[in-house]
Amino acid sequence: MSFRRKLLIVFSLTVVLSVAGVALAVLALTRRAFEKNEEQQTTALITQFQREFERRGADVAQRVERIAGLDVVLRMAAAGHATSVDSAQYLDFARSVGESWQLDFLEFLDENGKIISSEQSPAKFGYPDAAFESLSRLNQQPAFLKLEELQDSSALGLFAVRATRVGDHPVYVVGGRKLDKNFLSGLDLPPGMRVLLYENRTDHFSPESLLDPGAGKNEASSAEKLAPLISGVQHSGREMAGLVKWSSDPADEEVFHAIPLRGTGGERPLLGILMIGNSRAAYADLKRRIRDSALMVGGAGIFLAILLSSWAAARVTRPVERLAQAAQDVAGGDWNARVEVKGHDEIAQLADAFNRMTSELLAHKERLVQTERVAAWRELARRLAHELKNPLFPLQLTVENLVKARTQNPEMFEEVFRESSSTLLAEISNLKGIIGRFSEFSKMPQPQLQMVPVNETVRGVAQLFQAQLQAPGRKAIACRLELDEKVGSIDADPELLHRAISNLVLNAMDAMPEGGTLTLRTRLDGGQAIIEVADTGSGMTPEECARIFTPYYTSKQHGTGLGLAIVQSVVSDHGGRISVKSEAGRGSTFVIELPVERRSPQRTHGEAPENSG
């Protein structure tokens, strides 16, 4: 991964994490603020409900008290005092009075609790009111909650009891108003809040018992979502709160506070549950806005990070990239590669150091080349002196013999002259040969490539030298061919390849004056055709191996030191390489590796041979 990309990721991560951290912190603070506000609103609503409850209760009590004071009720009590009250006379009385006084529930009970007239259950005349015992105790008391049993259902209401007496015979007036949707609709609710009422008719949750003033078509299915909260209050009897998710949209979430409503009496039965809902739409909206803002800021931050990283790249990574490119150029051989130095920061210092380093290296290399050139010239001079000294010495002796014969033995001069002339010609011919070889090395031709069968070439060389290997006057050398027939043709100059192998064979013959075995071997290794020439001679030391391909170096008495240099030159021109494996006393093996597919000779021009010993 590039430094620029790393820089971009680091910048982006920094921005995103920073924005996310800020957003989370804002969200937490917002949530806390909303929860506090929600708690305050709920408390205010409960207070308002209690106030409304008390107000309506007082209103109910006042109406019931006024009804109890009606003359007709007094007459009812008087009739009860005399005999018994005739329910037939009052069948519609409770209904008509209840409607007039806008009471949803109104019953007149005699002293035994039997219903004389009932608005909500007119057919119940003569039956005792089940709650009479507690009702009679609530005479003149403030209004209270009561779950009124109707024919096939029940209803929660605010009730009050007042009694009218004639003598010791009272008539109880029990009146009330329903806690229904109208009651709930009358509450002044803050925006986003609503109130539901659950009538606790049974121990288990029943959707029909939930009064929702704003309920729509899916009332029953919606009510089911409140079941866990309601059931919790039913079982614990305590106030509870919970989050209700009406849909997958967070804006539809609502926090509900379930407050138990209890009746009168010692047990204070749970008659209803007030459900105060607080919509989280505003909170969800704010949360969504914070999230959107965070995303927007994050996006902008990432965009900024890209710009910053580009700028930083311009300031930081571009010099580094130039430095890297310069280093690669140097590795590729361009010792003149330089990096532009701008500013005085660490990158500039690094670039300056790099430039100084390459300058030093170049100077060192030039010094090394100069040194090597001097050494080569010295070696060349030594070799030339050595080569030229050998034929010059006989020339000097011959000329001295001629001079001596002319002066001391003129009669012998003719004979000596003939002999000396032939010697002089021979030595001059030797000198010309030496000069010709040097000239030949300096004029190595460029290979003319064509498809050359490797094995055939190797066999040709072996056949050429067969006679010399078995020549009389020297110890016999056995020639062994180990040719892999998979090795086919390669792109090569047949003349030069033949000459290179021949030089190696000559070299091996020179290494085995006492005879031995010459092995010529071919094989394929990857994309390379391998030609090995091995002898069983005395071998070479590692130092010799290291210098064996140096021009004009030789370990032989009469070698020019150009044979292996020519071989290396040929192999190098074919895009291959040559190496030697040798062990003192166990012979040497020269390995030529040539590419099967053609490569540009120029590309392998600088490759050095490998030696291993």
Binding site: P122, A123, K124, Y127
Partner: protein, 450 residues
């Protein structure tokens, strides 16, 4: 002198008062009587079988048409359009009254009477004879006379869809099921009625009728049983009980246990409390289908609640039944009855849920009894799906038939109600017959009453 002067003054005052009173009770011609009724018949033709028989329909029929005979309060046949009759075997010969004319002015002839009877009774063999008609069928004389006294056998002359009768009023305008205008027939064989016209509004609820009466928009209305107590008794008249309120089960009992549960329900109902309070004392508690005045044996069937016995019966059957008791959503009294019965049943350990939907196990049924004992019982038996073997018979046979119907377990009689009418104070000389039909033949209206 002083004493005699006072005596003369007192005597003169009494005489003037008596003369004045006598002037007010003297019948007078004129006036239009406005009636409102709950029934809304789609046809005025007595022979139209698709229109259910009711006292409302009978009221209308009696104003326009006459039958050949009728029965008095003592169930004795009286001549109407037939002035005499003789029975011989399966044949009854009725001598027709002379000089009777239909409302279109044509004379009533044996042929027109025979045509009317043939249309109404295709199975009868009716022969027109000079001044009489002869009827041959398999009914006995009493049975045939009872049939002839039924409104559906009223004599009608049908002329291209126009109906002509011989009754005191002729049809002026008729809007089916809504309004009927009648005018006095000047040539009525019984003499012109005192009233000039009658306007009848149909399909009105009891409450609307009472409101119309109180606001002076109607002169004569029907009143619901629960309103009887609150109505001025001086301007009110009731029939004998001719409507049965009963519990009607949709299906027969599926097992003896269920039959016992139905008996439990019958024993649990406090009919007296229902009559005294919900019906404001109107009607009679009933253990029988037919009222005692109609059958003479109604007292044999007990209508008393017996909660102890009911609980015993209930205790013998383990699975608690859950029935739905239905009531008409248009009738508040029905709902009260259903709720009261559910309360009574709960005392006996039965659970009844009230409902106004048609899918109920049992419902509050109002069964008319005005067609006479055999016909009324026959209609109920037909509804149960067990028609009576006979359409007429002796008292013992009637008793046995009623026992059979009750034994079906489909019906629990509760109350028998009369039909009551209320009229404005200026309507004079009107009456209600035992079968709840109005007798307006001699009714008249005081001057300045409208």
């Amino acid at each position: 002198m002083k004493r005699s002067g006072w005596q003369w003054l007192a005597a003169s005052s009494l005489l003037i008062g008596a003369i004045a009173a006598g002037g007010e009770t003297r019948p007078r011609y004129g006036g239009t009587l406005r009636i409102e009724m709950s029934a809304a018949p789609a046809s005025l033709d007595p022979a139209e079988g698709n229109v259910p028989d009711s006292f409302g329909r009978r009221n209308i029929t009696a104003l326009i048409f006459d039958t050949l005979v009728k029965f008095d309060d003592a169930a004795r046949p009286e001549p109407v359009l037939a002035d005499s009759w003789q029975a011989a075997g399966q044949e009854l010969r009725l001598h027709l009254r002379r000089d009777v004319k239909f409302h279109d002015g044509s004379a009533m002839t044996p042929e027109s009477v025979a045509a009317s009877l043939r249309l109404e009774n295709p199975a009868w063999k009716v022969t027109a004879e000079p001044e009489s008609v002869s009827i041959q069928n398999d009914l006995a004389e009493d049975g045939l006379l009872a049939e002839l006294a039924l409104p559906r056998n009223a004599i009608v002359k049908r002329d291209s869809g126009k109906l002509n009768g011989t009754g005191p009023f002729r049809i002026v305008d008729w809007k089916a099921g809504e309004r009927l205008s009648l005018a006095a027939d000047e040539n009525c064989w019984r003499g012109r009625p005192f009233l000039d016209a009658i306007e009848i509004e149909m399909g009105k609820s009891y409450r609307d009728q009472m409101t119309a009466l109180q606001l002076g928009r109607a002169d004569l209305v029907e009143i619901a049983a629960g309103q009887v107590r609150h109505t001025d008794q001086r301007s009110m008249a009731s029939s004998k009980p001719i409507e049965l309120i009963a519990l009607w089960f949709a299906k027969g009992p599926s097992s003896p246990e269920e039959n016992a549960l139905r008996s439990t329900l019958s024993l649990s109902v406090d009919r007296t409390a229902i009559r005294d309070v919900l019906l404001q004392g109107t009607g009679e508690t009933a253990g029988s289908i037919l009222p005692n005045w109609m059958s003479g044996y109604g007292f044999v069937f007990s209508a008393k609640a017996d909660l102890v016995r009911a609980r015993q019966l209930r205790g013998q059957i383990s699975p608690a039944p859950s029935w739905k008791i239905g009531y008409s959503p248009d009738d508040p009294l029905d709902r009260l009855l259903a709720e009261r019965i559910a309360l009574n049943a709960r005392d006996a350990g039965l659970f009844l849920q009230t409902t106004s939907t048609p899918s109920a196990d049992l419902r509050i049924a109002h069964l008319p009894l005005e067609s006479g004992p055999w016909s009324s019982l026959g209609q109920i038996a037909d509804q149960i799906g067990a028609p009576l073997a006979k359409e007429h018979g002796s008292l013992e046979e009637l008793y046995a038939a009623e026992r059979t119907v009750l034994a079906s377990g489909r019906i629990i009689p509760l109350l028998q109600l009369p039909v009551s009418y209320a009229a404005f104070a200026g309507l004079q000389n009107w009456a209600v017959r035992p079968d709840a039909t109005l007798n307006l033949e001699n009714a008249w209206m005081e001057s300045g009453a409208q």
